[in-house]
């Protein structure tokens, strides 16, 4: 049943197994509207698979993903995009042999006249300060510029929910600062943002609510201060000692 709360995205009982391994084991959480949320967890916690389930790259074995009143679990990536959920990639995936401008125009589902689409593309290119490169092949841009391009491209449809896949990966401090500023600006506009990250400084300093996964499920959630002090979270990251594991 669709959610009546102020949740932008509600995940219920997601399950996914690969071969004999239960990667996601009853994952449940609700992302509040208009906030920046973080999804974290140690390697093997299932957070990457959960992210892939949210973006349609993988189909769940069970469970629901509610977005704007509809269950989007199991939809293909292009269908999920058209519903208003946009994602970026950990390693940039810009279209290298196409110009910056063409990269922006490759986005579908705009339902606006061509002229408006082009104007929006130009505006977003300016938003990330790439106007002087709009006719250059995206493959010739520096890594940081490609990151910005991918970010701008994801905003063409003015999505309500943006999923960021390790935005800090391979990015220097200055560019990261720029990206985070853009992210905060988007949040101020009312958008909901979910960040999957390993970089704890980014998560702890920029997310209002954090969801921690371990062994395929959400084991803790709350604001950064609460998460940092949560014994279960510390154990998940630091590792359980053998005696303690025997107790469980």
């Amino acid at each position: 049943m669709p959610s009546a709360t102020g949740a932008a995205l509600e995940v219920r009982g997601l399950r996914k197994a690969f071969g004999g391994v239960q990667a996601v084991d009853g994952c449940t959480f609700a992302v509040p509207r208009g906030q920046i949320a973080g999804l974290i967890g140690p390697n093997g916690s299932g957070k990457t698979t959960t992210f892939n389930l949210l973006t349609g790259i993988v189909r769940p074995d069970a469970g629901e993903i509610f977005f704007e009143g509809a269950n989007v679990a199991g939809l293909k990536p292009y269908e999920i995009f058209r519903r208003g959920i946009t994602r970026t990639f950990q390693i940039t995936r810009v279209f290298r042999e196409m110009t910056v401008f063409e990269n922006m125009l490759s986005v579908t589902g705009l339902a606006v006249p061509d002229r408006v689409a082009r104007e929006r593309a130009e505006a977003l290119i300016a938003f990330v300060n790439l106007t002087h490169l709009r006719r250059e092949y995206a493959g010739r841009l520096s890594y940081g510029q490609q990151k910005l391009l991918e970010f701008a491209r994801a905003l063409m449809t003015d999505p309500a929910l943006i999923l960021l896949d390790e935005p800090a990966a391979g990015v220097n401090r200055t560019l990261l600062q720029q990206l985070l500023e853009h992210i905060h600006r988007l949040q101020a506009q009312g958008k909901t943002i979910v960040i999957v990250e390993h970089d704890m400084n980014v998560i702890m300093n920029h997310c209002a609510r954090i969801f921690v996964m371990d062994a395929g499920a959400v084991i803790a959630e709350g604001p950064p201060a609460a998460i940092q002090g949560d014994e279960r979270v510390i154990d998940a990251y630091f590792g359980r000692r053998r005696a303690a594991a025997a107790r469980d």
Binding site: R93, S106, A117, A154
Partner: protein
């Protein structure tokens, strides 16, 4: 691209077509044939480029559609006494249907697997044409009754070339073309931006099959005798691919220029080096591949003579 630019290009195309329209009267039989074949290769190279250049699914079996079109026309004219012109429409329809039937499974394959599968498909159609002799007369081939002068096929090919150029231009310089390019560059990322890759690929593939099919139909009527080896000739696929790549895969002008240049070189070497023409032809290709790996258009873009990108 401003409306003005599109208009200018349209006028250029009209001028070119007009010139070619007026030409036959001034040409010898041999030259008329030469121009016809050149136009045919423009059609083939541009069509191949739609699926292999724009969309990045390199097909090594496009001759299948050419052969199917040739047979469609030959069978309808020889066995069912159709007039020649409507058979071209039939060739287009049959080509499209076969494209959908082959494309649906084969487009799931990537890169080299797709290329080889298409090669297999082309060989498969050749075998079917040889074996299904109830329909195709098998190895005996089909003879068509001759009634037209060479001018009719010339005009038909000219019209086909005009349509093909217009279609390739409309696709290549539009946001549809941008989406096909996106699929070529990174299909996963394209899907993440709302592009239904399956639908777009199938559409591009079908479009790329229609024009070669009609070209095959026209050729059947020109040469008046076809059999499986002559129409399912792997050299035709190679020529399509080479011309498109030589001119610049992924552009619109590229395949046009590539077809004209390569076919002309092929003819010149044949005429001037009758014993060694294949070597001379091959040498030309090697030199171009070495010094202009992205084709003539790629070379021009790198030099700044042409713009980067297809949509501005």
């Amino acid at each position: 691209m401003a409306r003005r630019e599109h208009l200018r290009n349209l006028l250029l195309l009209a001028a070119l077509l007009g010139l070619l329209l007026a030409l036959p009267g001034f040409l010898s039989l041999y030259l008329r044939s030469f121009v016809l074949f050149t136009m045919m290769y423009v059609v083939l190279a541009l069509s191949w480029n739609i699926i292999s250049g724009f969309t990045g699914y390199t097909s090594f079996g496009h001759v299948a559609f050419y052969g199917i079109g040739a047979y469609a026309t030959a069978i309808l004219v020889a066995d069912y006494r159709w007039h020649w012109l409507p058979t071209l429409a039939a060739a287009a329809v049959v080509g499209a249907l076969v494209a959908v039937a082959i494309g649906y499974p084969v487009l799931r394959l990537k890169g080299p697997y797709f290329a080889i599968a298409m090669l297999g498909a082309a060989e498969g159609t050749r075998v079917v044409a040889t074996v299904w002799d109830g329909l195709t007369h098998g190895g005996l081939g089909i003879s068509l009754p001759s009634a037209e002068t060479s001018w009719a096929t010339y005009y038909a090919m000219l019209a086909l070339m005009g349509v093909t150029i217009a279609a390739a231009y409309a696709v290549g310089h539009s946001r549809i073309g941008v989406r096909l390019n996106a699929i070529r560059e990174d299909e996963v990322a394209a899907e993440a931006l709302g592009i239904n890759a399956t639908a777009y690929k199938l559409g591009a593939f079908t479009l790329s099959a229609i024009f070669p099919a009609v070209a095959g139909g026209i050729q059947a009527y020109k040469v008046l005798y076809i059999d499986p080896p002559s129409v399912f000739f792997v050299q035709i696929t190679i020529a399509m691919a080479l011309m498109s790549m030589l001119g610049g895969k992924g552009t619109v002008i590229g395949p046009i220029v590539g077809a004209i240049v390569l076919y002309t070189v092929q003819e010149l070497t044949w005429v001037n080096f009758p014993t060694a023409h294949l070597i001379a032809y091959g040498l030309f290709i090697v030199v171009v591949a070495r010094f202009m790996p992205r084709g003539l258009m790629g070379f021009a873009i790198d030099r700044g003579w042409a713009r980067k990108g297809m949509v501005h």
